[in-house]
């Protein structure tokens, strides 16, 4: 492993300064469950790792009146152990509780899961269906990117040299909102999704006002499916959900690999879209 410096940044500006100085030879460090593995495997050759988890902004976990703020260094356990957050965001809990095992969830967070930009990231689809906005800080100031535009390829994102993800913001769920994530793996836990689907709906009575469906592990990036737009304005019936599942399958462009064939993945997207939409509708009806 190439010897690198460790810098514990205390502020956003301090982190940017070190990241900008080293360019692609510096990376932010949050949970470290991807970054340290990449550095050790020689996939990244680094001069510095910048520890961002001692910066107040990256640790924010705040339910506001209209907006939920989730700092980029907030570990998974904080999402499901905070009773208020867990009650409002069961869809995020679905993701946070299956990213790695308990050890990983002590360190890794949804922010790092997003920045790692794996097509199979279990948290990315959930951020997309909660309409999360990513707040990125860099040498030229702060910019915001919708979660669905953050990943640009396997392991690649919109982050430029000197930039890092500070927090994610998403609208507070209103009455009639529900979301869910489910993946398919041969094991129950500690596994990488063969396919995964996150769904959310906003109901008004039995009508779906708007919906979002995001697909994991069936393309080079997580995919915002057309199934959500298809459902907008329709009744939340089994027939419409089945048709949406078919639309989602059509949006998948998977490869065949050791985890599963393309054909199996397309089938799984249909099944998981139906299941997560049904659960999202159920949660929407229970919401208040």
């Amino acid at each position: 492993m190439h010897p690198f410096e460790y810098v514990r940044a205390k502020s956003v500006d301090e982190a940017i300064a070190v990241l900008a100085k080293h360019g692609e030879r510096a990376r932010p460090l949050a949970g470290g469950t991807d970054a340290l593995v990449m550095a050790r495997a020689g996939r990244w050759e680094l001069d510095a790792l910048v520890d961002i988890k001692h910066i107040p902004e990256t640790n924010v976990l705040e339910l506001g009146s209209s907006e939920f703020r989730l700092g980029s260094a907030v570990a998974c356990y904080r999402v499901y152990e905070d009773e208020q957050v867990a009650a409002k965001f069961p869809g995020l809990v679905d993701s946070a509780s299956i990213i790695g095992g308990i050890q990983i969830q002590s360190r890794a967070g949804l922010g790092g899961n997003l920045c790692n930009a794996s097509p199979s990231g279990d948290g990315i689809g959930s951020l997309i269906v909660h309409t999360a906005t990513c707040v990125i800080a860099g040498p030229n100031g702060t910019r915001e990117v919708p979660a669905e535009d953050f990943c640009t390829g396997p392991g690649r994102s919109v982050l430029k040299d000197g930039e890092f993800l500070v927090e994610m913001k998403m609208p507070m769920p209103q009455k009639g909102f529900g979301a869910a994530y489910e993946r398919f793996t041969p094991r129950n836990e500690m596994d990488i999704a063969v396919a995964g689907v996150a769904s959310s709906v906003q109901l008004d009575g039995d009508t779906i006002v708007s919906a979002r469906v995001a697909l994991a592990a069936v393309g080079p990036t997580p995919i915002l499916s057309s199934a959500g737009d298809f459902l907008a304005g329709k009744e939340a019936t089994a027939e419409n959900i089945s048709a949406a599942a078919q639309a989602a399958s059509g949006d998948a462009s998977p490869i065949s690999d050791m985890r599963g064939t393309a054909e199996q993945r397309i089938h799984l997207v249909g099944v998981l879209t139906r299941r997560t939409l049904e659960r999202a509708v159920e949660r929407a009806r229970e919401s208040n």
Binding site: P3, T33, L36, G100, Q103
Partner: protein, 156 residues
């Protein structure tokens, strides 16, 4: 040449003050700098849990933490588990139930299981299996480990 970093932390209840190169994992820090070889290296990439330690009250894979990151923190390793002359009930139950063979995964399992029982004294079998999913054993097949954790929970 990168300079070593000074780290002050609490290790198994005792204050420690040491120098470590910034790129060295907590696992290697414990084993090579601090001489505590009870924590084992398995996969060294965050999958197997052999290197599990307790960091500020939560279990972590010490291969995925830098030694430099623990400045100001409290770490508990397997060396801190037994009292002098007296095994922890989990250690005793692992012995009685033969919940180990080669022993490489055992310190990690014990640290993980202790964190669970400290938090939830009477977990269900499902809960034990889910909690221990981040610890892999290639010898025993898990049943004996789960039974040992259940036995320790009952004896508490």
């Amino acid at each position: 040449m990168v300079e070593k970093i000074r780290v002050r932390a609490t290790l198994n209840g005792e204050p420690v003050d040491f120098l470590v190169a910034p790129y060295v994992s907590l696992l290697d820090t414990l084993r090579d700098e601090l001489g505590l070889t009870g924590t084992k290296e398995g996969c060294n990439d965050g999958n197997c849990g052999a290197c599990t330690v307790n960091l500020d009250g939560r279990i972590v894979d010490s291969c995925c933490v830098l030694g430099a990151e623990i400045d100001g923190s409290a770490v508990e390793t397997i060396e801190g588990m037994a009292e002098p002359g007296k095994l922890h009930p989990l250690q005793q139950a692992f012995l009685e139930e033969a919940a180990l063979q080669c022993g490489i995964c055992t310190p990690g399992f014990l640290i993980s299981a202790k964190a669970l029982l400290d938090k939830e004294p009477h977990p269900s079998e499902d809960r034990i299996r889910f909690w221990l999913a981040g610890n892999l054993c290639r010898c025993t097949g898990y049943d004996k480990i789960v039974k040992a954790v259940q036995k320790a929970a009952e004896s508490a």
